[in-house]
Amino acid sequence: MKYDLVLRVVAKLLIPFILLFALYVQFHGDFGPGGGFQAGTIFGAGIIFYGLIFGVDTARSVLPDWVVESMLAAGVLLFAGVGIAGLLLGGNYLDYFVLDKNAVIGQHRGIFWVEAGVFITVAGVMLKIFYMFALRGRPED
């Protein structure tokens, strides 16, 4: 598919919008349908689409393996870290009310970081599984 002109042009047109839509779903998740999990899958699917059309190696130069592998762990750590921040500020684990003087703003802050954690892990796992499968039949590079 690497040299198919139509696919390349359509992909170049669509991919920015897919990634932007993922960010919209992520940050608008408080108001409309969506959230970290949906945004992560859409973001991952956008990069996978890019990898399908332009080759896995091109996608891997955009998001190298070490970035994707760090994303895997970073998301869960961020999520768990929000919980620990709540503990340190005198609340229970994953209690967002204590994250700010104003309880409602604390909740918003907690939800923001938690959703960011979910987004990072889900996008990382999608990409990692794709890289692993796509490189499976190939000799070591």
Binding site: V25, G29, D30, F31, G32, P33, G34, G35, G36, F37, Q38, T41, I42, G44, A45, I48, F49, L52, E69, L72, A73, G75, V76, F79, A80, G83, Y93, L94, Y96, V104, Q107, H108, G110, I111, V114, E115, G117, V118, T121, V122, G124, V125, M126, K128, I129, F130, M132, F133, A134, R136, G137, P139, E140
Partner: protein, 177 residues
């Protein structure tokens, strides 16, 4: 009404899927099945689940199955045994589930027990996030979501552990270690 049509289409695609021996066609049909499912979810006003279903079920998993197809034969071998036992198990489980579904309260019935328990507290919205689903998932059930994220992480870690070992061994051999 539209949901019935979609469900019938899904049933048809499953029946065709059973008869198919060409794996490429089966993968594409699975993608169609997922898109139908996503449309059903949109019709049920669960847009966020529909987005996930379309992106994961129809998008990513189709890509992964196609990637797997590259590594194996493209048509399924004829089964040695007649699949009567698995068919009986699958059909009886399905019948049981449909029988159980008849006992559920009507769709979006406000008097259903699930809407009388903790849902009123959720809807008071002390979190002040307009999308209640996000409030429930991220705040009220934060532990649950943390667990889910860990499950996703574990899946990724498992894939890495399963598929990378061979490459590592090759590299060691190349370096003479």
């Amino acid at each position: 009404m539209i949901i019935d049509v979609l469900l019938i289409l899904m049933a048809i695609s499953v029946l065709i899927l059973m008869r198919l021996r060409n794996l490429f066609a089966a993968v594409v049909l699975l993608g169609i099945y997922s898109f139908l499912m996503a449309t059903v979810l949109v019709a049920l006003d669960a847009v966020d689940v529909a987005m996930t279903e379309a992106a994961v079920g129809a998008g990513v998993s189709t890509v992964l199955l196609l990637g797997a197809l590259l590594l194996c034969k493209s048509s399924e071998a004829k089964p040695v045994h007649k699949p009567w036992l698995p068919l009986t198990v699958a059909v009886s489980t399905g019948v049981l589930l449909v029988y159980g579904a008849w006992g559920l309260p009507d769709f979006s019935d406000p008097q259903a027990p699930i809407h009388q328990h903790v849902a009123p507290r959720y809807l008071q919205n002390e979190v002040d996030v307009p999308n209640v689903v996000t409030a429930v998932l991220a705040s009220f059930r934060g532990f649950d979501t943390l667990g889910e994220t860990t499950v996703v992480f574990t899946a990724g870690a498992g894939i890495i552990a399963l598929l990378r070992r061979r490459q590592r061994v090759d590299k060691d051999r190349k370096n003479g270690a």
